[in-house]
Amino acid sequence: MSARLLALIPVAVAISLALSAAVDAVALPLFLDTTGTILATALAGPVVGIAVGALTSAVNTLRNPTFWPFVVVQVIVALYAGFAARAALFRSLKTAVPAGLGLGVIASLTSTPISYFVFGCTTTGGIALTTALGKALGLPPLGACFFGSFVSDFGDKAVTFALVASVLHALPRRTAARFPLALRAIGAA
């Protein structure tokens, strides 16, 4: 791994964790905690993305221990973002947002078993409340848990993909060209 990619990893992790300040300011029910993983993958490929995802989970675990089991979701996100970058799905918001919605479905399918079996669907207040809503609607326990994860992940991943696409397009071409996958991700190579 080159020094540039090595320097990118801690910065991408910090981006994921620092964006919570921006989310708090606009008071939207979003996490954006996979932004660094998706961005690093779009710039440098899934191996760097997986490293960013694993490190994000490790650092988050020191703040909130419930994050660690979800490291699997970060790996899935990196692999999916790698596919999206190779398919140039970050070339416009029209392609990035549907790709993000697809990731929302996959991420909620991946996180549901972890959330259900390890935490009884209580990972965050929002997920617990939407799970309770799902139960009230008559869904079975696992279905209600998926409903809770889906509601929180679906929009979050679409916004994250849109944000990463905006960042990639705002990057000067000379800077983007220094990363192996950036130009291909936006359909410029």
């Binding site: 020094a3 990893i9 910090a14 964006l19 300040a21 490293a51 490790a58 020191l62 009884g120 209580t122």
Partner: protein, 219 residues
């Protein structure tokens, strides 16, 4: 406690939640939670017990909302063990000692750099994010109103943060190359933490205990 080898601290913090999940509920969870909270108690009420209790309380509330008392007790004790163990670990584990320990063990300097650089980059970028939020508000950005308006505000807040962070990658790359930090390079630790025989025995003992509990549970 801080004088213990970082690998011993990691082993204890990993073994307690593992045992909480492996041992039969609720007795297993009660025992591991008891040990974890006793360890935290050694850090005092304000720095040890209080943050763990605050972190674990919402889980109990949501578990009661979603499950019966028996399930709440089983999962709640496991989550409380996990929370208490990691709050204790965060309080007693010094990142610089962990880096020294990994370097002394011959691990790649890359892993040590990634861990240390991330821990230092996170508070720096968080502070920058707060400054950007304040600066954009001074320029008249309104983060309230419709969802579309809030999403536009989010873009205006997030984009400068991410772009400035990516420009920083160039500076960090030059610094790394100038210091000869390339993959495969080996460093000599300045002050490696002492790794006593008794601590190595404890670590292996914890691993064997987890394996034995797992085998017994599966059998």
């Amino acid at each position: 406690m801080r004088a213990l080898h970082p690998f011993t601290l990691l082993a204890v913090a990993a073994a307690l939640p593992a045992l909480a999940w492996i041992l039969p509920a609720p007795a297993g969870g009660l025992a591991t939670a008891g040990i974890a909270f006793c360890l935290l108690g050694s850090r005092g009420l304000r720095r040890g017990l209080w943050p763990a209790l605050v972190a674990a309380a919402p889980f109990w509330l949501f578990l009661l909302l979603l499950h019966d008392v028996r399930t709440t007790l089983a999962i709640g004790l496991r989550i409380s063990t996990m929370v208490a163990s990691f709050v204790w670990l965060a309080a007693v584990l010094a990142p610089d000692r962990l880096v020294e320990a990994t370097v002394a063990r011959g691990w790649s300097i890359t892993a040590a750099y990634l861990f240390a650089a991330t821990l230092s980059a996170v508070p720096m970028l968080r502070a920058r994010a707060r400054r950007i939020v304040e600066a954009q508000r001074c320029r008249g950005l309104s983060p309230r109103g419709s969802v579309a308006n809030r999403l536009r505000a989010l873009r205006a807040l997030a984009l400068p943060l991410v772009l400035s962070a990516l420009h920083e990658v160039d500076e960090r790359t030059l610094a790394l190359e100038a210091r000869g930090l390339v993959p495969g390079a080996r460093r000599t630790p300045l002050a490696p933490p002492p790794d006593r025989v008794v601590e190595r025995v404890v670590r292996w003992g914890l691993l064997l205990l987890c394996l034995a509990a797992l085998v017994r549970r599966v059998a």
